[in-house]
Symmetry: C2
Subunit: 218 residues, 2 copies
């Protein structure tokens, strides 16, 4: 299997963390697609993923699977333990709900802020920006942090009492928040404590180093 | 189980169709939440779903599961046949990818167009609008139709040769396109032929009638 990604990307981080949690890294070859050069927006790359986003999993027969949730579902179904997407109907439902909520209310909102209300990937790549929409999404993300802080006041992980895909997506959100210098509000103590625990996991610590191109600075 | 929804809503349609495909309607009680009165944005409803969107599945113990993909995962895991979310790793990966793509490139884009560049649910509910962003999303959705037309030129269903959750999501997108009067381009013959086949399915035909409030006109 190949993973097309960029070593510091917040969305690529989600799949790198999932691969490490499942202990599947040795089965994957990483191929760098330079976000800062817009290599993910070329016609060649869009033939692999119409939406022009990273990461993409390519199977040995050439089948491409884009979208982090879809790649995680694929990897999770390959192997039994640990399970990232749930075993019972209730676990599957709650994990997928919280996973989507972490995208909608935090990760995707910060992504829109980055691409629309900051220089983003630079003028060559950001050919259209809507700064007002970007700032709305930044404010949505800050509210999202407060929401997840409330969730993590009552439970140990994003979707309950076990680590799951939903934690990985929220980690992706806070990685992106760090890149755009949008700090977690000081009052969000439960969210900060959870993130400190997550950052101590080897899958999160080692995510960039597992495949960084030799000539890349960011 | 209860489903909180609105009988004509495109997102509620996704869960109504999934319930009918799984033959699970008799296990569900529908509760109307009037979108046109903004009942999904009240603090009481947001306690069930932070994001303030429909539909929401409430289990008998009070657990709430929001987000169509999460509800479909729950329902699909309850019962074996037919399977909407895939059996093998490859099926799961491709169905989740195409499901997300149908959201991103069509359904969600039309939703943003509706809420931001048309009167949407009216001035009481649409408290912030960004018309330029809404029009961009309309154009994205039209391109999404052309993309899915290409997909359906080569295969019978959105994620391959079997009906799945990804078809349901694209149906939701075209239901919404109909509501906002955004027709499928005439050149998209494969998409139109697929949609005609989908509209003939009992799950799609009967979705509004299974629970429409007596006093509702829209």
């Amino acid at each position: 299997m190949k993973i097309y990604d960029w070593h510091t990307g917040p969305y690529p981080a989600r799949v790198r963390i999932a691969l490490a949690e499942k202990n599947l890294q040795s089965r994957v070859q990483f191929v760098s697609v330079n976000l800062w050069k817009g290599e993910h927006k070329t016609p060649e790359f869009r033939a692999k993923n119409y939406s022009g986003t990273l990461p993409v999993l390519e199977l040995d027969d050439g089948t491409c699977i884009a979208e982090c949730t879809a790649i995680t579902e694929y990897l999770d179904a390959l192997d039994g333990a640990p399970t990232l997407t749930g075993r019972t109907p209730r676990e599957k439902g709650r994990i997928h709900m919280m996973n989507k909520r972490a995208e909608l209310e935090l990760l995707d909102a910060i992504s829109v802020y980055f691409h629309h209300a900051t220089p983003g990937l630079g003028p060559e790549v950001e050919v259209y920006q809507n700064a007002e929409w970007g700032r709305r999404q930044r404010d949505k993300a800050l509210n999202g942090m407060r929401y997840f802080n409330g969730v993590l006041t009552h439970q140990s992980f994003v979707a309950g009492e076990a680590f799951s895909m939903a934690d990985i997506t929220l980690i992706g959100g806070l990685i992106f928040a760090g890149l755009v210098e949008l700090p977690v509000p000081a009052a969000c103590e439960a969210l900060q404590a959870w993130y400190a625990r997550m950052q101590a996991r080897p899958s999160v610590q080692n995510r960039v180093a597992i495949s960084a191109p030799a000539d890349a600075s960011v």
